[in-house]
């Protein structure tokens, strides 16, 4: 049974956006223009957006799965007809689903999608998805420790942990805007690289395993 939230069902099912079809009669001809793989390939962006909004990796996983279901169903029902509109549709779906989750709306049945589990499990995971929360903490600390200057470390802690504004930090640490941006950029890039390395390690570790032995962690939060 595939489910979503009431809000997502309404927003993805009734709202009309540019590029979406008005009637079901157009569905057959236009659904072919969009493949479900197009949806899957855009999930990393959806996931990044949802994580940005929720700061909860497990909830992000669940809600991203909901977006996948909602959008695939919209394609099948012909409610999206142009590939150019797909990202915007997914964006709106993601936002509605997060808002609904925040309001703790009761889930309602969206419909059946038997191959959804396959779609979800076969997708290429993002580097961050490969990490557990304690691993993310360890990587973040490593990135912080790798910054050679104490001032840069203070900047990172002030910006990311204490939530101090850019202008105040620049004044406090006597940095120009350019210097500030460079430190943040360097840290962000290093974090991305660390996450990539972690993903590569995970892949290398799994290469020797038979596919049937691979763990499958993806599951619906409504199971």
């Amino acid at each position: 049974m595939l489910q979503g939230t009431a809000d997502s069902a309404v927003s993805t099912g009734e709202d009309q956006m540019e590029g979406m079809a008005d009637g079901r009669e157009e569905a057959d001809g236009q659904a072919a223009a969009l493949a479900e793989s197009d949806v899957v390939s855009r999930l990393p962006g959806v996931r990044a957006l949802i994580l940005r909004m929720t700061h909860d990796m497990h909830l992000t996983n669940d809600l991203t799965q909901d977006v996948l279901i909602a959008v695939v169903m919209a394609i099948r029902e012909g409610r999206i007809r142009q590939p150019e509109a797909l990202a915007a549709y997914m964006h709106q779906s993601a936002r509605h689903i997060v808002y609904a989750a925040n309001r703790k709306l009761q889930p309602v049945t969206l419909g059946e999608l038997p191959e959804q589990e396959t779609l979800w499990q076969d997708r290429q995971k993002t580097p961050l998805e490969q990490c557990e929360e304690d691993e993310v903490r360890r990587l973040a600390r490593t990135v912080l420790a790798e910054l050679p200057v104490q001032r840069d470390r203070d900047l990172l802690v002030g910006y990311y942990v204490d939530g101090v504004g850019k202008a105040e930090l620049m004044q406090r640490l006597q940095l120009s805007a350019d210097q500030f941006d460079k430190v943040i950029f360097r840290a962000r890039t290093r974090m991305r690289d660390r996450l990539r390395e972690k993903m590569q390690e995970a892949r290398n570790g799994m290469e020797g395993l038979a596919p049937s032995a691979l763990p499958t962690s993806a599951r619906s939060r409504f199971e």
């Binding site: 962006g45 957006l49 990490c131 990587l139 600390r141 470390r153 974090m191 996450l195």
Partner: protein, 225 residues
Amino acid sequence: MISALDNHLLRAYLDGEMDEATAEAFEVLMIERPQLAELVDADTALQMGLKEALATPTAVSVAMPTTASTASASADAPAATAPPEPARQPHRPRRRLIPLLAAASLLLAAGVGLGRLWLPQPPDLVSTTLLSVDRMRGSVTDVPKLRLPTSGQIVLSVPVAARPGCAPRVRIVQPGATLQTTVTPDEYGFANLSLDATRLALGKTDIVVDCDTTQLALYQVEFVR
């Protein structure tokens, strides 16, 4: 490939410098381009990871090395220098606790904030008015007029002649009230007295400098608005 423009947009988005419409447009672009999403993920992971890592005292000592040498050492072998992670907690119970903890934190923060508002906080700087009793600058026959503010602190600067073996005293004599204190004149021979302007009345006032029973000086001034 991340271009300079991409980086500019990314920075503006992550710094919250975009208006809502622009931010939404960037989010759509991010959905189209996984490379951008990867950097947004890295930023979010950095924020989440550091917040959680620095929430424990053991993490702080590692994450905030006090010298460059310790930082270099950590960079060389970060995994080795990192303290062992605490045992992972089950996610679901923790998530149920988060709203309670958040609510408690908010209440606490609000209470502390209100408490700070109610408690009198000393300001960093206080503006004062300097009133100088200096007969040298006017005619000896005129009574100098000193402009007294309606409120706030004033500093009254009074010439005090030094005399060996004597602790001079300054008295401000007004009808109905006399304010007095022992003073130590500065190297220029002035005693600077701080008091609230409301303690003084308008009109002519005698400022007496004496030592024990001996009057050393008498200055007559007039406080005016």
